[in-house]
């Protein structure tokens, strides 16, 4: 029974059902057991399922549960598919997911909507599992939208604050833009290749479409649209920072570790298609590059602890896209995994900080907290090191692979590499800016806040710390899936390159230290220059994308809605009515009641008829 793939998404779903149907009537303890327990069980099963694949990465297991919909030649099965790639994903989802659930039992303990929280979390995990296990794109789309929905529900979890609701809607609608593109991609793929089964599609694309074929370009572009939306890449990245309105464990699970990387997964899953459209693939790389730089700049300017992490997430996914774009599929997935570890760690630690400091988000109002918040401090140190790709932490390996793969690309490879390295420099700066500001220096306030902790919250942090540090030594079993010789094993890479790649993040950390640790340099003084101030403002607002979109889409849409609020077509009807009534008004005047006029009309009528009779 435990070898059934169907059970894996079903376990969390069962948890969801129990919590949903009970309608919040269960005691908290049971909610916690059901909520976290179902994920825990799922994790165990995922381990069971994934271990054979890890041993032999060519192992593929499939299970068709039933035929979902079939109309004529169109059939989409509820079929699940497990290979190396999805094994990594399910482990990350259930593993990290379980830890975060566990953490949440502590984090959310005072929330009145405890049960609702876990219900949606479980639903999320279930959807995410469907997403990564789906053997066809439609089923994947089911999971894809499901996670989007859960994300929406959780961002707006504290619904009484309208701005949370706004953020939730923004997230959903923005990703919906991408989803729609993806849906059109599905239509195209089915219409051209006659199936939505991923395997069949990839085979079909390879055999029927040549390299660089228009269909391949169109299909991959459309799918890319979906990926860009879900993974918060340019130009649809604006929703993620706002999505931090949700409870912090949500940010950790959905907006850092799993859902946002679904785009990466999608592209990796359909990499055959992208390989057929090299231009699009290169576009992926450049999107990744642009996003990682953009987000890096922005992250350096943020004050909100979660927004910094959010931008860093965007940036890190940019790396993954960069990797995908240069064909380093495995490296990207590897980075996805390590990122899941260290970013979940950072978020959870941030959660601890926030909870301990009574929902304070502004890092500049913290300071010197390393003694007060030891576990958070340790977590942040390790997480930030990994994030900044400090040598031999998990992030180091994965980012290294991506950058090397980029370098190996002919033509724009060097530029991509340089961009990536610059990005790594910024990563060093912003990640340690956070650490220095929050944990070092003088305490901005004089409260003596105790760290909110406990086993449920501390244990996940510990585990994640270990993985963030050592996760780099795990080798994801994806070589078979991508059937490529790993590029980074080539020996042509010079030691200089390696040295640069080690040195740059360290330099970033160093700069950060000079500014925020030792306070030898001051960012405030930089801001006295008008150019710097302008840039700062620009970066701070996320390169003005929000304003741009507001001007470009939201305002025109609202204007349009206002323009024709009453539906001009209805006024056509109203006009007809008005004309009839005017006709009535006119005609009634002839009914004057005057007998002589009536006689005149009879005479006139006869005269008219006679004339007409003569004319006709």
């Amino acid at each position: 029974m435990f070898d059934s793939l169907g059970l894996l998404p079903f376990l969390p779903f069962l948890g969801f059902l129990i919590l949903f149907l009970s309608g919040g009537g269960l005691p908290r303890r049971i909610v916690a057991v059901v909520g976290a327990g179902s994920i825990g069980l799922a994790f165990l099963q995922a381990l069971l399922l994934a271990l054979p694949v890890i041993e032999n990465d060519s192992l593929v297991s499939q299970q068709v549960i039933y035929s979902w919909m079939s109309v004529g030649e169109f059939e989409s099965k509820f079929g699940l598919y497990l290979d190396g790639l999805s094994s990594v994903m399910i482990l990350v989802i259930t593993g990290v997911g379980f830890l975060i659930h566990l953490y949440s039992t502590g984090f959310m303990r005072d929330d009145p909507s405890y049960s609702r929280f876990f219900a949606i979390m479980n639903l999320f995990v279930s959807s995410m599992l469907v997403l990564v296990l789906a053997d066809n794109l439609l089923l994947l789309y089911l999971g894809w939208e499901g996670v989007g929905l859960c994300s929406y529900l959780l961002i707006g979890f504290w619904y009484s604050n309208p701005s949370n609701g706004y953020a939730a809607r923004k997230a959903f609608v923005t990703t919906r833009v991408g989803d729609t593109s993806m849906a059109i991609g599905l239509l195209l793929l089915f219409t051209q290749l006659g199936s939505l089964n991923i395997e069949e599609l990839m085979n079909g694309a390879e055999t029927q479409w040549g390299l660089g074929s228009g269909y391949a370009v169109a299909a991959s572009l459309l799918l890319l649209g979906g990926a860009v939306g879900k993974s918060a890449q340019l130009p649809l990245q604006t929703w993620l920072p706002d999505a931090m309105a949700g409870p912090t464990p949500i940010s950790a699970l959905i907006h850092a570790a799993t859902m946002v990387t679904a785009g990466v997964y999608l592209i990796a899953r359909t990499h055959t298609l992208f390989e057929l459209a090299p231009d699009v693939q290169l576009l992926v790389a450049f999107i990744g590059l642009a996003t990682l730089l953009m987000a890096g700049f922005t992250a350096m300017t943020q004050r909100d602890i979660k927004r910094i992490l959010a931008y860093s997430t965007i940036s890190q996914i940019g790396y993954m896209f960069l990797g995908l774009g240069v064909g380093a599929w495995s490296a990207s997935v590897f980075h996805l995994m390590t990122h899941a570890f260290f970013k979940a760690l950072l978020f959870l630690a941030a959660g601890t900080v926030i909870l301990s400091l009574h929902h304070e988000h502004d890092i500049f109002k913290m300071g010197g907290k390393r003694k007060q918040l030891p576990i958070a401090f340790a977590s942040f140190m390790i997480g930030s090191l990994a994030l900044a790709a400090f040598p031999f932490t998990s992030g180091y390996f994965s980012k290294d692979e991506i950058l090397l793969a980029a370098l190996a690309i002919e033509g724009p490879g060097l530029w991509l590499w340089i961009g990536g390295v610059v990005g790594a420099f910024f990563t060093g700066i912003y990640s340690f800016r956070l650490v220095f500001v929050v944990f070092f220096g003088e305490s901005a306030d004089h409260h003596d806040d105790k760290e909110v902790t406990g086993f449920t919250m501390a244990f996940p942090l510990m585990v994640l710390m270990v993985f963030a540090l050592l996760g780099g030594f795990i080798h994801p079993p994806t070589d078979f899936v991508f059937s490529v010789e790993e590029a980074h094993s080539e020996h042509s890479v010079s030691t200089l390159i390696h040295a640069i790649m080690i040195a740059v993040p360290l330099a970033g950390i160093g700069v950060s230290y000079l500014f925020y640790g030792a306070r030898l340099w001051s960012a405030d003084r930089l801001l006295e220059y008008s150019l710097a101030k302008k840039l700062h403002g620009y970066w701070f607002s996320g390169w003005g994308f929000d304003a741009l979109y507001r001007g470009l889409f939201i305002k025109p849409l609202l204007g349009l809605a206002d323009l024709n609020r009453r539906d001009f077509i209805d006024s056509i009807v109203a006009t007809i009515v008005a004309v009839s009534e005017a006709g009535n008004g006119l005609l009634v005047r002839f009914q004057s009641g005057s007998l002589r006029w009536y006689v005149l009309s009879v005479v006139g009528g006869v005269a008219i008829l006679l004339t007409l009779g003569g004319l006709l």
């Binding site: 919909m69 109309v71 004529g72 009484s160 609608v173």
Partner: protein, 496 residues
């Protein structure tokens, strides 16, 4: 025969419910409920193959009615009708449930009208004599008119009249067209007949076919409704009592789509085929334009009404895809939209009953006071925005899939509607249930009866979403049969 039973039970049940008011005020609703349930029983016998083996129909009935005009009383059911009758019955029960507490005056007459509307709709779904079809088509309007005019809200006169006039005006065009069709059949064969199967065989000259088709199309597009014939709907929906809105949105709109599938396409294959670009354009405009209008509304029911039009655009889209996938998508959308729109109207009605307003600006933050209602509303909003796993998605996706092979641009532009759907659905959720709770925080949550009704609809949407084949299998044979009609096959060949 079983079809006749359905009709008879509903007609007689209506009369009995009316009379029973004299005995006890509670009686009509129970009688109405039990007649609808009773009327649906014959359906069960039709589900496994039906009682008419000789023809393509599951069951049919044919007797002379007005022989001097070649009119027969002829009813028949195939898979498509079966599904829609099922929907009618289901929503009939839902509407009775939603009227349970809302309607307190003239109870007997109300349920009489309700049941007669249902009967008219069932008649429309089963009539295979075009005169009879038209007869039912009109008959279902009268009780609906009464429902809006008597139990409607503040502006009910305008709304009821508008509703009636729109459908009547275009109904006349339909009448003219179907008479024209019968006339040309008479001229060709010398037999005056309104029978569906006779008229299928009429060979029309190009221009004639075009004009006659237009008559049919306009009538059905008004009922569907599609831009530019939609403007009756927001008024009718917002003014009707909840049960009326439920029936209107859930069932009456579907008669338009049914008419297109059953009559317009097969009777006028060439003209309809030529008309495809126009129909697709109208569909796309309906989807986007009405979604846009929905965004601007402050009246909750009006807003939902516009979204209805928007969603019915997908039906039109699927129908004019001219392939099995598209048509099945249309059918699925009809079913799913029937449930989701009915539920949303029901919720809006519930809110109005509690707050005595439909003005969105006066709502907000109801989640805290009535979480069940909020979750329910969330569910159906999500259904409406096309969440996979719920029926609406299946329908819309299949419609788009069907149409994509015909017109990439239509499918692609229509897909933008999915974005707008997300925008307005979530905006409404925000406006009503999220945000800070307003003064009316003492909002009563859903009671057991309401939960049961909504639960049934949620269940239905989930089943449609996850097991659409259960439904598609019924309409499959009907639609395949339709598409394999000689003339349609010829047209289809010409197209591709």
């Amino acid at each position: 025969m079983s079809i006749l039973w359905i009709l008879l039970i509903l007609f007689v049940g209506g009369v009995v419910a009316w009379i029973s008011e004299a005995i006890n005020k509670q009686l009509p609703r129970w009688l109405a409920l039990s007649s609808v349930i009773l009327a649906m029983l014959p359906l069960v016998s039709l589900m496994d193959g039906g009682d008419d083996i000789s023809s393509a129909w599951l069951s049919s009935l044919n007797t002379a009615w007005i022989p001097s005009l070649g009119i027969q009383f002829s009813l028949a059911v195939d898979g498509l009708s079966l599904l829609l009758i099922g929907l009618t019955g289901f929503l009939g029960i839902i509407s009775i449930a939603s009227a349970w507490e809302e309607i307190n005056s003239r109870v007997g007459f109300f349920y009489f009208n309700l049941l007669w509307t249902l009967a008219g709709v069932v008649g429309v779904f089963t009539a295979v004599d075009l005169f009879l079809f038209f007869f039912f088509w009109e008959v279902m309007l009268i009780p609906m008119y009464f429902i809006i005019a008597i139990w409607g809200h503040e502006n009910r006169k305008y709304a009821a009249t508008k509703f009636f006039l729109f459908t009547q005006a275009t109904g006349m065009l339909l009448l003219m067209s179907l008479l024209g069709l019968a006339y040309f059949n008479w001229k060709a064969t010398g037999v005056l007949s309104f029978a569906y199967e006779d008229l299928l065989a009429v060979d029309l000259a190009g221009d004639v076919e075009r004009w006659l088709m237009l008559g049919f199309f306009v009538a059905f597009a008004t009922k569907l409704p599609s831009v530019p014939f939609h403007s009756w709907l927001p008024d009718a929906h917002s003014q009707a009592p909840t049960a009326g809105s439920v029936l209107l949105a859930g069932v009456l709109l579907k008669t338009g789509a049914y008419g297109l599938i059953r009559f317009t396409l097969p009777l006028f294959p060439n003209a309809s085929s030529e008309f495809t670009p126009v129909a697709l354009t109208l569909a796309v405009i309906s989807i986007l334009y009405c979604a846009k209008l929905a965004l601007a509304q402050t009246d909750l029911k009006r807003l939902i009404a516009y979204t209805s039009v928007s969603h019915m655009g997908f039906v039109l889209l699927g129908i004019y895809a001219w392939n099995l996938i598209g048509l099945q998508g249309a059918v699925m959308t009809m079913l799913a939209h029937g449930l989701s729109a009915a539920a949303l109207f029901s919720l809006a009605g519930g809110l109005q009953g509690r707050l005595h307003t439909r003005d969105l600006r006066k709502m907000g933050g109801f989640w805290l006071a009535s979480p069940k209602m909020a979750v329910t509303a969330m569910f159906f909003s999500i259904a409406a925005l096309g969440m996979p796993g719920l029926g609406n998605f299946v329908g819309e996706f299949l419609s788009l899939l069907g149409v994509f092979s015909v017109s990439v641009s239509a499918a692609a532009i229509a897909a933008l509607g999915m974005i707008l759907a997300a925008v307005y659905s979530l905006w409404v959720m925000q406006a009503v249930f999220q945000g800070e709770s307003t003064a009316t925080s003492g909002l009563q949550d859903l009671n057991r009866r309401e939960m049961l009704a909504y639960g049934a609809m949620m269940f239905g949407l989930l089943v449609m979403g996850f097991f659409p084949n259960l439904f598609l299998v019924f309409s499959d044979s009907a639609i395949s049969g339709l598409l394999s009609l000689d003339q349609l096959v010829a047209v289809a060949k010409g197209r591709w």
